[in-house]
Structures are given as C-alpha cells and as structure tokens.
Amino acid sequence: MKKLLFLVVIGQAAFASANLKIVTTTADLASIAKLVGGKSVSVSSIITGSRDAHRIEAKPSFMSRVAGADVFIAVGLDLEVGYERAILDGARNGKVMLGQPGHIYAADYAYILDKPTGSVTRAHGDIHPGGNPHVLLDPYNGRRIGIGLARKFQQLDRANAASYETNLKAFLDRLDSAMFGAAQVDKFGSESLWQWHNAGNFKATMASKGSTPGGWSGRVGDVVGKPVFSYHRSFPYLARRFGFRVMDELEPKPGLEPTPGHLATLIRTGQEQGVKAIFQEPFFSTKSANLVASRIGAKVVVLPQSVGQAPGADDYIKLFDVIVQRMAEAL
C-alpha cells in the first residue's frame, strides 16, 4: 500500500511539473504570463527591446520558436496583423493555430477603447477596426489579462492548476498594492479600490473615508486633468487610468510621419491649452517632439510601452513604476 502511495505521489509530482511552453508577441504579455505561470511555464516573447509592435517582420526564427510552443499569446486587435499569420503558418503547429485552445488574444480579456463604430478605411491611417490595441497600458487591463491567462493555463495544464492560482493571487496582490498602496488595500480591499477608481470617484471616496491614495494612484495625483501631446495614439488607456488628457498626437494620422503643417497646429494648440509634456514612445525619433516642446515650453517624456524598453522596467509591474515616475516628474 505504501509502495502504491509512493508511486501515486511520484506520478503526481511528475505530472505536476509538466511545463507549458509559451511564446508571446510582446514582452509585457510575456511578463504577465511568467508572473502567473511561475515555475510551471517557460515563456519567451518574439518582440524584445524598444521596437514598435506594429512593425515586426515574420522572421523564420520566430516560426521555429512557435513551432514548439504549447501556447501562443498575442495582444490581438490587429496589432500583430502584419506578421502573426505568417508566423503561425510557418510554425505549422496545430496547437496554437487560430481558434485552437493554445491560441490566445489577450485583448479578449480587456476593455477596449477607440473602437470605431462605422466604416473603417485606410484614409484614417493605420487604424485598428477592433479598437486601440495598447490595452496593456492600463494596469487594470493587465489585471484582467492576468486572470484570463491563469484560467487558460489551468485548462491546458490541470496538474498545475493550484500553482497557477497561487501565482495569480501573488500577481494581483503585487499589482493592487503597487496601484493603491499596501495599507490602502489592507484597509479597503482591492475590489473596492478598483471599483471607486473605475467609477471616477476614487479620490473623493478616499477623502470621505479619511484616507489618502497610495501607490501609483497617489504619486500621479498631480497629473489628473493635465493636457499632454503624444507621438502615436498609444496612451488612451494610460490616460483613462491616470487622468491626464491627450490633446492630440504628433502623427497627423496613426502611422504617418509628422508634417510641418500639423506640427504648426500643435504648437498653436499647445500654447493655447498650456500643454506641459509630450509623451513619446521610445522607438520613434524625438526630433518632432523636441521641436514642438521647444516652442511651447513643454518637456519631452519618453515612456516605455512594454517591459524592457527602459532601465528598471524589468517586469509588468516595474514597467508602471517607471511610467508613473516619469509622468509624475514631468507634470
């Protein structure tokens, strides 16, 4: 009987250590997958460093990596439309083809902004018919995606379901504490805090309860309502979460180079509206932003879009540490 029990325990242990091999498109997705998957998964992203996730070429090496994957995670909303299908077809991996359980669009778990309600043409520039794909720049979406990924991993790797649950709880605890402050989470609970924040009455509710915001929500108190420009339409989710207002983009339309006429308009708008910062993605030239900033007395603030795009942005939560610090210093 003892021998049988020993074999069962060994068998369970062997099964429980079975890994999911995960390949993601972006580094922030890889970070969330790693935080939620823990030791039960191996994760890599095909986009590393400061690269524009819209403009990646389907390199054959990506195909080889996806060929051996159990799970492929993309952001979706056509962010990867230029290369995802070519990578999947080249990988010839039935487990991660579109529509298979191993293929995940993270945006399916997120709330979506900028969703066009009418016809869409390329006259609007590099527009995304399903909505703005920069969903991960709201930590609330990162939270929802983390939960969604944990559920998926539990379906695909039942032996490690409890481990994914533990990792998810740790991820949510860390994210919530970073967003609101550990003391505030202990006092009010993360559900209430997110509810107030989503409803737009967070600060007032906290004040009515004799408390002050902590974490990122406390550090960015001064950015609420401040007008800014951005280079590309990357920041609607970040703006919605932290309350600054993106007055316009340096790109006249998504994906197009800034034009002299458009920059002149921005200079007028910036002077009229008192724009104090231009939020800039790290992979675009700062030449146009510097020009506009010098004319309107604003700062150019390079904000990382994803993990690994700035010193210290080593995982999804540290990414926001960097973003919040840079925003708070600029505004």
């Binding site: 390199k59 090496s61 077809d89 390329r122 609007h124 609330y140 944990a150 539990q154 919605r240 994906g255």
Partner: protein, 360 residues
C-alpha cells in the same frame, strides 16, 4: 486533507476571479473619447466575414530609355495584381494571385499563383498544391511588390523565366524541430515554359529541392541562407540547376535599417552543354523613415548560348506608408547580343485591401 483545503481555496479564488472576468468594462474615469470614425448602420450581416481577403496591387510605370529596345511605351499600367485568400475550412487555406498585365503591347490576364496549403499536417509538415512559385532561391518566390527594384534580376529572367518559375504542381515542406530554423522543401512542378526547363508537357516534372536556415546574430541583425537543387526535362535531355541565396538584414528598433541580398544560379541545360552562371547582389539602405536607396549588380549567361548581359541598377524609393511608393530607378545594362541601354524608370505602386504579410 490538505488537498481538499487547497482545492476549496482554489475554487473560491476561481469563483472570485471569474466574477472579475465577467464584470462589465470599467466606467470611464473621464468622458469616453469621441469615436474616430463617423457611425453608420449599427448592424450588418456577419456572413461577409466569410468573404476572401481581397487585395489589389497597381504598378504604373514611366520609362525613359536611350534605345528603342528600352521599352515600347513611355508610360503604361504595367500590371494590376488581384489577390484572394481565405481559409477553405479548418484544414486548408487557399490563395490566388491573378495579374492583368501588358506584355509586348498586349493586355493579358495570367494566373500567377493559385494554390491551397495544408498547414496543420503536424510533425512540421505543410503541403501545397496548385500553381506555385517554385522553391528556387528567395527573390523569385516573393511578390513583385516586395522587391526593392522593378523587375526580377537578369539571372532569374534568363534562367528561370521573365516572371520566375511559376508552375502547377505539388510542394511538401518540412520544418525541423528545435530552436534553430531549418526548412526542407521538395517540389514537383510542370512548367509550361522556362529557359532552362522545357518540354515538361511530356509528363516528366521538374523536381526541386530547397534548404534554408536562419541566423539571429543579434536582436537587430539576422540572415537567411538557402541552397537549391533542381532537375527537369529540357526537350530530349535533362537540365540541372544549382543555386545559393543569402539575405542579411539589419532591423534596429529605431534608426535606419539595411538589407543585403544576393543569389547565384548555375544552370546546365542538358548533358554536354556549358553551364550558364547568373547572379545578383543588392544593398538597400533606409535613408529616412520613408526614403530607401538601392544599389544592385546583375549578371547572367543565357543557357545554351554564348550570350550574356550585366549591369548596374540604382534606385530611390519614397514609401510614405507601407501601402504605396514612388520609385525612381536607373539601370545601365551591357549585353553581347543586342543593344546595350540605359533606362530611367519611374514607378508608382499602390495596394489596397488585405495583402498577405511579406516574407523575410
């Protein structure tokens, strides 16, 4: 007992998390952004989702040449390429590319490619059936809108055909397992006409084998190396073809990219015949976000003859978006069988619809 406890904890957390997932999107912190596009009819049939992805590529050119052989017409709509692609069912994907072109002053319609691919065979295999671009080198398998110059290199035109080797047949491709990319392709094609392979209509196919591997030297620098072997009928005898292709790309996250691409072909049109050699080497540099400069060297010997041609090409491409470009190209061609010429071409190319992703 601990198992039960952890299970119930997990179940509780699962239920709580499920509530998180199903809750409505968050209420706005501020007013929702104004929709970027005007609204129209709120509902439409989703049956249109089953329509194929359609693309159209237009290639309009103006040519200025210093000889009569440089071109028949100053300006012309060189080609319209219609592309259709869709999943046939969960197993099969079909693609077709139909060209409406001008050739020798006449309008023609030609099916450039029309094939269906099984990508889910498993074990790293894909199978393709239909009219396909043969797995010879790299450049002739890419569509014209992906080239960094106007026409196919001399070596491809003179050895494989003006539009490369595109023929009906079957293709089986195998991707080796592992992190390093190694791909083997085996094909049997029956071309109607090709300078090196002729007489395939007797039922004997051209057999092509291609191998390619890929190197990631760094995040920014990568290269692909390929080798080709092909054998097929050439009237009463058999032709043999060997090829090497090499592509290197520098693609930084920000800053200017460059590409080097080169191919060499050795073609022996039957036993006893001299081996014809053709090659090209080209470099393309991104000069600004939208401007690209290209320099290319071409040379080829025409199989079964003593004829050869070679020349330089210099081009400048303005690409405001990935969907259209203007290209100015100067070419100086020397030959021993006709009039050498210098040509200056202006190309205006645009693309609408859902064109498939460009290959490496």
């Amino acid at each position: 007992m601990p198992f039960t406890l952890s299970s119930s904890l997990a179940a509780g957390a699962f239920a709580a998390a499920q509530q998180l997932i199903v809750q409505d999107p968050p209420a706005p912190v501020e007013e929702p952004p104004t929709p970027t596009v005007q609204a129209e009819a709120p509902t439409r049939s989703r049956l249109s989702d089953f329509n194929p992805q359609i693309s159209l590529v237009s290639d309009f050119r103006s040519r200025f040449a210093n000889s009569q052989e440089g071109g028949e017409k100053l300006s012309e709509l060189k080609e319209l390429e219609l592309g259709l692609a869709a999943d046939v069912d969960p197993f099969l994907r079909a693609e077709a590319y139909i060209a409406f072109a001008r050739e020798d002053g006449e309008n023609i319609v030609e099916v450039e490619e029309a094939f269906a691919t099984y990508s889910r065979l498993g074990r790293g295999l894909t199978a393709k059936f239909g009219k396909i671009a043969g797995a010879v080198g790299r450049v002739q398998r890419n569509h014209a809108d992906q080239q960094n110059w106007l026409d196919y290199p001399y070596a491809i035109q003179d050895i494989l055909g003006e539009e490369g080797l595109k023929a009906p047949g079957a293709s089986l491709s195998y991707l080796l397992p592992g992190d390093r990319f190694h791909e083997f392709t085996l094909e049997a094609l029956v071309p109607d006409e090709s300078p090196i392979f002729m007489g395939s209509d007797n039922g004997k196919p051209v057999v092509i084998g291609h191998y390619r591997t890929f190197f990631d030297f760094s995040e920014d620098l990568s290269a692909q190396l390929g080798a080709t072997y092909a054998q097929g009928p050439n009237e009463s005898t058999r032709s043999t073809l060997y090829g090497l292709d090499y592509t290197m790309k520098f693609q930084p996250g920000s800053g200017n990219a460059w590409t080097f691409e080169a191919e060499a072909l050795w073609a022996k049109p039957g036993s006893g015949a001299e081996t014809a050699f053709g090659m090209f080497a080209a470099g393309t540099v991104q000069l600004s976000k939208t401007l690209f400069g290209t320099v290319k060297w071409d040379q080829s010997e025409i199989p079964g003859t003593d004829s050869w041609r070679r020349g330089w090409t210099v081009g400048l491409t303005l690409r405001p978006t990935e969907f259209h470009h203007w290209r100015l190209q100067f070419q100086d061609m020397q030959t021993n069988f006709g009039e050498s010429r210098r040509t200056l071409d202006l190309q205006f190319q645009w693309m609408i619809g859902a064109h498939p992703a460009h290959k490496y």
